[in-house]
Every structure is written in C-alpha cells, then in structure tokens.
Amino acid sequence: MSQYKVQPGPEAFLPPSAASMGIVLPDPGEAHIEGRIVPEEEAYEEAARKLLGAKVPTIFPGPLVLWKWNDKAAQKATAIRKLANSIPCRLIPMADYRPKYPKIDPEVEINPNHPNLTIWHNKIDVCIFVGVHCHQANLALKIIRGGTDCYTMAMCAQAGHEDACLSFRDASVEKIERLTAAVLKLKSEGVESQADEFTQIKLNRQGRIA
C-alpha cells in the first residue's frame, strides 16, 4: 500500500484521520508535508510558498495566543501579527471552542466544530492554525480536509498535527519568526503574494467593531 497523503479535500463524507492511515508525527527538529517527514527548514520554505501563492491566505489564531495567559503568549501574538503583515494575510480568530447557536458569523470567526463554514464563506484556500489546543485543532483540520479544498497548515506548540497538510511542532516565538523570515526571503527573491485585497475585520470581546 502506498503511503497516504494528507492533501486538500474535499476528501470524503467522513474522511479517515491521518493517524489511522499510518501517518506518524514528526520528531523534534522535523516537520511533515502531506504526511512526509521533512527537515524543518524544508517546511518553512514550503509553508511560505503556500502562503504567498494563495488567494485568500488566512491565519487562525486560537485561545493559547489570543489571550495573554503569560508573557510568552503575548510574544507569540506579536510574532503572528508580524507574520500576517509580511504576507499579507487576514487573521480570523478561534477565540474559544464553544459550539455557536444558531450559527457562527463565518466572516469573522472560526469554530472547531464547524470550521468548514468559515472556509467556504471566505473562500480560504490556504490557512495556518496557531495557538489552538491540539485535540480541537485535529478535529477542525480533519473536518476541513473532508469538506473543503483548503490547504491546511499547523504551527503546533506540542507534537504537531497529522491532519494538517503541513505541520510544524514545538512552535515557539522563534519558529514563528523563522516562518516570517522565510516569507520575506521568498519575496526578496521575487515571489509575489497572490492574495486578493482584503480588509482585516477588527473585533473586541463583544464582537465585530470595524
């Protein structure tokens, strides 16, 4: 049996988890691209190319970086903002994991229980998760792969995500900055962002403010 590839969908009515298809998480110093274990350096360049080549590149920051639990979270948030500006790309927060009734506002938020709604509504073709609790990220990544054609990436602070098309592990401020550096390096070499023009919607704790 050839190795399963973790590629953008829509894959199936209920796609299998990548781990059940034999995909193994990277070890420290490694990443994976579509299930293939690669040196981290290779993944930085690939992730940067994907972000620059997308029409609607989007970062989904989760609660672990949206809220100032500690100084490191704040530093990560600053680094993520720099990454977004470098591409440029929009930020759509996953502020918490509560199922939203009757439905979410997919223009401004994403939820792990029905992330496909946000992907479809905004026509997001490349996204990157950062600061999302691992189990919730896996849930969302698999649902996105099942029902959308979005290329998913994860900047995970723990062991990484097989259900993303590309995943880093042990994410730190430095690693986020290295991804930003990879984006800037490609741009300096003449690679241009293909992103459509967009307006970053602003939110506070009560919701949309601009």
Partner: protein, 404 residues
C-alpha cells in the same frame, strides 16, 4: 495500518517536565522514566498487589479513588497506606465502581494524575465511564486485575473483561508478569500523558496469578519518582465545562438533528482512535516494542498476551524436549494493536496457536482478522472461569492438532 517507526538516532521526547532533577515533598527526585528503569536495583520478592503499591509510590500520583469489595486485590488498600504516609494528595473510597470512575474523571479534569484499580464485575459496572474518559482525553490509569465477569463469579483469572475494553478508546496493555505490571504502570503514565496521546490507560493483568502470587521484581529506587503530570500540555483546556467534550455530556449539542453535529461527534471519535495510534511511537521508545518475540522463524508459533504467554513459554520448553520447535509472540499492547509487528512475526508461520484465559477467544479473533491465510490460526486452547491452563495442555493440543 501501522507504519514502520524508526526511532534509531531520533530524539523522541520522553519526560520533558521542567521539574526533572527537583525534589518533591517526600524527598524523591523527579526523574525521566528511562533513567528510573536504568536505575533499578536488586530483585524484590513481592505479590502483584504490593508491586502496584510500589509502582504508585514512585509514580507521582496525585489522587487515587478506591472501591475495594470482596473479593479484591489488596492494591487499593495498599495505596491507602501510601496516602497515609504522604505520597498522594488525596485518597478516598467511592460509593460504587461507577462512582469511583466518575470521581477519577473529576480529579483528572482538575489537572491531577489519577490512578485506580478495578476488576471483573466492577469493570463492567464502571464501563460507561471508560469511553467518557477517552472522549474527554483524560489520562487516567486504571489497573484491571482481570477475573470473571459472569455468574458464577470467580476471583481467578479470566480475561473476558478485556474484550469489553477494546473499543472504549482507551489504551489497553496486558502485563504478563509482576515485572511487566510495575514497568507498565510507570511507562503508562508517560505514554498516556503525551500531548498527542493524552488518553486513559487500562493496564490489565491476570488476577490472582499476578496479583496474589509472589514474584521477583526489579524496582526503581524509592528516592526517585516520575515527573509530575503537566495539565498545561493537555490537548483540551483543563476543567473547561463550556466546550466539547465536557459540554457534550450536559448539552444537547450532539443531539441536535443536523449533519454538522453528527460530523463533529464522528470526527471526535476518530481523533480519539488517532490518539491511540499515536501512542505507538512513545510506547516503542519506552517499552522497546509493542510485542516481544522468540524464534519467530519457526513454522509453529504461540501468539498471546498475559499469563497465557507464560504458560505458552513453558509449553514450548516441553515441546522442545520432544524435538518440536515452536516460536513465541508476546503481545504487550492490545490497543494499539500491533498490526505490522504481528504481520511480520507470523509471516513464515504455518501454524499459529492462540491460548487464552476466556471463552470468547477475542485475541484469536483479532489475529484472524489481521493476518493473511488465517486458516493458520488455531483458536486455543482456552480456559475460563478461573481454570488454570497447564503448559502440558497447550503442548498436547498443539501435538494433537498437528497429528504429532
């Protein structure tokens, strides 16, 4: 669906807790589990129940909940002594096995390392909690000292209850000896608490044979202990009552009649199964493999787990004396099931015998479902209800089946 995991030269993270090297209030030093195994001292001669106590003593367990009813192993009562000595933060008796497992969940939701024991009918009475633990990603460890579950009851080994645990989403390991049990308890916390795993572990052993009889065991020094549980590495927020999975238990979220709700629930279950698969890498790093093999190039193999392996090993010695060469596969982890390893180990076998201490023959079914040409599998011999399985019986059944 397993994939070859090459760990040679790789830096798989075992213990990475910041407290390694520091001392706890009992003057034990937080130590990486592999260093604890390397520091094992001279053999001790103890019962399995005493071994459970001694493993818990160095496992940095925060809370244990007990419901010891007769007949029982002494383990839960012995852990109570550890609490009296100050090794646990809390220890109390639940109102029933069901209540115990619910109370264990509460403690784990709060960020504690939790240990408990159960057996036989108690396992079944508590059963509803086990898939809840797994769905909630609570890395609780329960030692299941397997005995009969069906009337008339038995305190002797009968592994039927393991069949009920297979699809709960828990990790399920099966210790052959008291040494296995000691090692599995310590390794189990380290594997099940990995952020990418973070699942409960049913550490099974065959009641009475392992719990009540004495055996020699090499233990880690008692001035060492496992690094403490770090709830901040949980893949779900600690004590979060507003979000799935906890909300699923009190909220009609999953009962809403719409595709999204069902798809979420299904995906959640898949993620739990995925976490079981992820435990392979960590288990191999700590335990050295999911199976152990001896002479698997031979045409006749005995494949099993628990004390059936011990009896099989002795049967192999008896057969060897008659010039019949038989190999052995000992399965240590039932979930995750070692697919690739068993396929490889049985590739050349013409006859595969699966001795079991239960009437269902669930292990033989697992193996038959996995390997090609499964007519090679002979389901048995089997005993149940507390019967012993003399090695002579295994040897005779092999000879009889093969017409020797």
């Amino acid at each position: 669906m397993n994939k070859e995991v090459d760990l040679k030269g790789k830096k798989v993270k075992l213990s990475q807790h910041v407290k390694i090297g520091e001392k706890n209030k009992m003057n034990q030093t937080y130590t990486d589990v592999s260093d604890m195994f390397a520091a094992k001292g001279a053999p001790s001669f103890l019962t399995g129940s005493e071994i459970i106590r001694d493993a818990v003593k160095v496992a940095s367990v925060d809370i244990s909940v007990a419901y010891p009813i007769t007949p029982q192993s002494e383990a839960a009562a012995l852990i109570g002594e550890l609490f009296a000595e100050g090794y646990l933060l809390d220890y109390f008796r639940g109102e029933s096995e069901f209540a115990v497992m619910g109370q264990c969940a509460g403690a784990a939701f709060g960020g504690a390392r939790v240990f408990t024991t159960t057996a036989g009918p108690g396992t079944l009475r508590a059963m509803e909690n086990f898939p809840m633990w797994a769905g909630s990603r609570l890395p609780i460890q329960v030692v299941v000292t397997c005995r009969g579950v069906n009337s008339p009851l038995s305190i002797q080994p009968d592994t039927l209850e393991m069949a009920y645990l297979l699809e709960t989403g828990m990790l399920v390991w099966h210790a052959e000896t008291a040494q296995d049990l000691y090692d599995f308890i310590l390794a189990g916390f380290m594997v099940s608490e990995q952020p990418d795993v973070h699942l409960p572990l049913a550490n099974c052993c065959d009641g009475f044979f392992v719990t009540h009889t004495k055996d020699t065991v090499n233990k880690a020094p008692e001035d060492l202990c496992l690094p403490p549980y770090d709830p901040y590495k949980s893949p779900v927020p600690c004590m979060d009552m507003e979000c799935p999975p906890v909300r699923m238990m009190r909220d009609p979220f999953i009962m809403k009649s719409n595709y999204i709700s069902y798809a979420t629930h299904a995906s959640w279950q898949q993620e739990v199964k995925a976490a079981v698969e992820r435990s392979r890498k960590h288990t191999i790093a700590i335990l050295g493999g999911l199976i152990e093999t001896e002479n698997v190039d031979r045409e006749i193999l005995i494949v099993s787990s628990g004390t059936a392996v011990s009896q099989g090993r002795e049967a192999i010695r008896l057969l060897e004396a008659e010039g019949i060469k038989v190999g052995l596969v000992k399965i240590k982890t039932i979930r995750p099931f070692p697919y690739e390893e068993i396929l490889e180990a049985t590739a050349n076998a013409k006859h595969i015998f699966v001795p079991e201490f239960n009437m269902a023959g669930w292990m033989a079914r697992e193996i038959k479902a996995l390997i090609p040409n499964n007519e090679r599998v002979y389901e048995g011999p089997r005993v149940a209800g507390g019967m012993t399985m003399p090695s002579e019986v295994i040897a005779e059944e092999i000879k009889k089946h093969l017409g020797l």
